[in-house]
Amino acid sequence: MRSSVIFVYLLLSILCVYCSQPKRIVDQMYISFDHARYCVRRLNGTHEIGCQSSASGNSGRMYMIDNDEEFNSYLMNTKLIDSSGSFIIVLNVNLFNTYYVDKLITSLSSKLNGLLLYLKSTPSRPEYFSHDDQCPNHRYSYYLNQTEIINWNSKGTGLFFRSFPFPIMLIDEEDDYKQLIKFYRQFNYSQSSSPTCGLELKSFQNAAHSSKTCIRRNDISHSLIDLEETFCDPVGGLNIYSKLPQSFIIIPKKRQPKSVILILTTTDSFQMFLKIKGTTGGAQQPATSLITFLALAHLIGQEQNEFKQQDKEIIFVTLDGDALDYSASFKFMFDMINGSFPIGNQNEEPIKVEHIHSIIEFQSLSLTDKLSLYTYPSSLINQTFIDTLVHNNPMIIPMAVDSSLPPASSQIFLRQTSSLSFPAYILTSTNQNQLSNHYYHSFFDDPSTLSINISSLEYNSTTEFSQWIKNIVESFGQTLIESFVGIKKNVTIKQEIINNLVYCILKNINCPLIHNVTNQSTGNSFDSSNETSLPFSINTYPVAATPTFPFVQNILSYFLRDRIYDTYNLNETTCKQYSNNDSFCSYTYVGGYAPSIMSEQSFDGYCVRSYIRSVSSMSPAFTIDNYDLSQTTYPAWTESRWTTISLRLFVIPTRKHEIITLVIGILLLSVSFIVCFILRYYTNISLLQPSSS
């Protein structure tokens, strides 16, 4: 009796060890694609845009359409369409435009349960892929009131701003595509009588209807339930500004009118398809403009002794949030009109509209032979400045007087001042009223469009692109000195600095440059973003841990630092003492970036005196009391929150298979009932009898 028990026990344990599979059955049923890009929901004051799936995912029969003929044959194949209740159409990314999508929606209506786009291989990417509008940022007449509407992005589909009731995802990795096609060919032979592939797309978004509804629901909390659920977050990041820390206008000294020049660029972009830990695009817009901006800041910082001789201040400003209805520019102008620019020290005299001399903006630059200079209004522009600039750089072509402006932040600066106060100069890459960027606001906008081979790019590689930037920046710096200081001087910037900037921004943020210009603890925060390029996407408030802002802040403030401190050999404690005495500037102790330092002596560490300010760039719509978000005075964009995004492939069995499974299941159920009944019947008898032992 004892030995038989032990034997049974041993047998069971051996069986358990050998037969138990570590994988769950559900893992064997589904193939999941973890590197898919997905589309999310965003809302503005009155509408919602983007995609929404059901909470447990949208599933359906998979059907792959590779080209136009297959598309037409699918739509005419009514037998196939009737065979299944829901479809997930797998579409070649070249077919993703309004014509095909609208046709699918009208033909399939509620049977279209999701869309999966695929890219066969990196070289086969479409020539144009932009889902922004044909005239970007033209909603609610934010466009400067000009007579003609020009389609700057004529190949834009506008699909980003439409609301889809189903999820849309995109597969851009070649391995994923190969796996998908392998399963598809394996299973989808004939139309209905064999097992077919099915897909499940899950990208459930929490927010709904409009920003107004969503923000209202965020704020209402019933005190009985403690958990507050946030449905959406307002769009906004940081507007960063910096200048040479030479002189400050301290109250009661008055600031001279027309004594401030603003140099503008943007630090954000958007993509219709996001990926966790994936590239965000943005190489042409805004990275090229940002690199030019930072290099120009270095040049101005280098020639700061010249600029000290004149009375105009040059302030470098980055705006975050302008891709969606110019939220950041509205916030900047709102602050300026209300006297809170610059922020920080109350003793500093505020800069108001009458103090601005002019604004210069770098926008949508691409690697082109010719650059266009747009200026507005003709009554205020300084023709000598334009002539000097064109003389110094023959690549720049000034556009006709009072011609329509391309999408640029300057439009809002001019709009809020009715174009009566200061002129705007916009440098951009357009050709006959068309942006040169084929991938405007898309994740395909990567360094390969700038003729850069990103895999072979090193920290100090000189590329055609970095030489092109050097050309532009030097001519610009020369023009600024000629116009404001009044002397002709050939200024140069070291090619190494531009190479380093290109490497850091387009390939790897965790580069020696950023470690040289930050103190230990800030530098360590970049280690987590190793081997990633600077992300350019929509930022929301509260500001997430994106490395873009600390990167721009530290580099901009270092480039515009007070260079006299490069000659002082100071240690960290002295540096801290200086910062206690000065309330306008910040002092940091850093390792020092060698190509930027002009003095012959080199020290272990440098104290950096710089002027840097960061302000939240959330639209004024969210900060003004009792502002009705459905008004169109200020943009009110928010981004929905979401939890899990998943894409899974499974096999839909044939009808025969399903019926057999059901019948076996019912049989098994009835057999188990019978066995239990019989056992109960017999054990009932034996339990009543006394045991014989």
């Binding site: 459930f204 709904a208 209807h209 209202r216 629901r217 209402i220 019933h222 449905f231």
Partner: protein, 102 residues
């Protein structure tokens, strides 16, 4: 479990009266229980002196229950149909927001 057959007629009347009176404190379920529990006592059992009074209480409880059912069903239908059209008021009245949908 309280068994009414074991109670004396005065005690039965007492219980019925308590349920009837307590139901006025916006407790329609008490009226519903009252009507169902005492239905047999009021109409099906041999008559005894307190039965007439119990009968009135049961009938009034039943009427009260019916009125409450009408009110609750009407409000439910109104809320379901007009929640989104009421704007901010609809959101203030909602306790759990539908995630992802208006």
């Amino acid at each position: 479990m309280v068994s009414l057959s074991k109670k004396s007629p005065e005690e039965r009347l007492n219980i019925c009266r308590k349920y009837y009176r307590a139901g006025f404190a916006f407790l329609p379920l008490l009226w519903l229980i009252n009507a169902i529990w005492f239905y047999k006592q009021a109409f099906k059992v041999e008559p005894y002196p307190q039965q007439a009074q119990i009968r009135t209480y049961v009938i009034r409880s039943a009427i009260g229950t019916l009125i409450w059912i009408i009110i609750i069903v009407a409000w439910n239908i109104t809320f379901q149909l007009l929640r989104t059209k009421m704007g901010p008021l609809g959101d203030f009245l909602t306790f759990v927001y539908p995630r992802g949908y208006y």
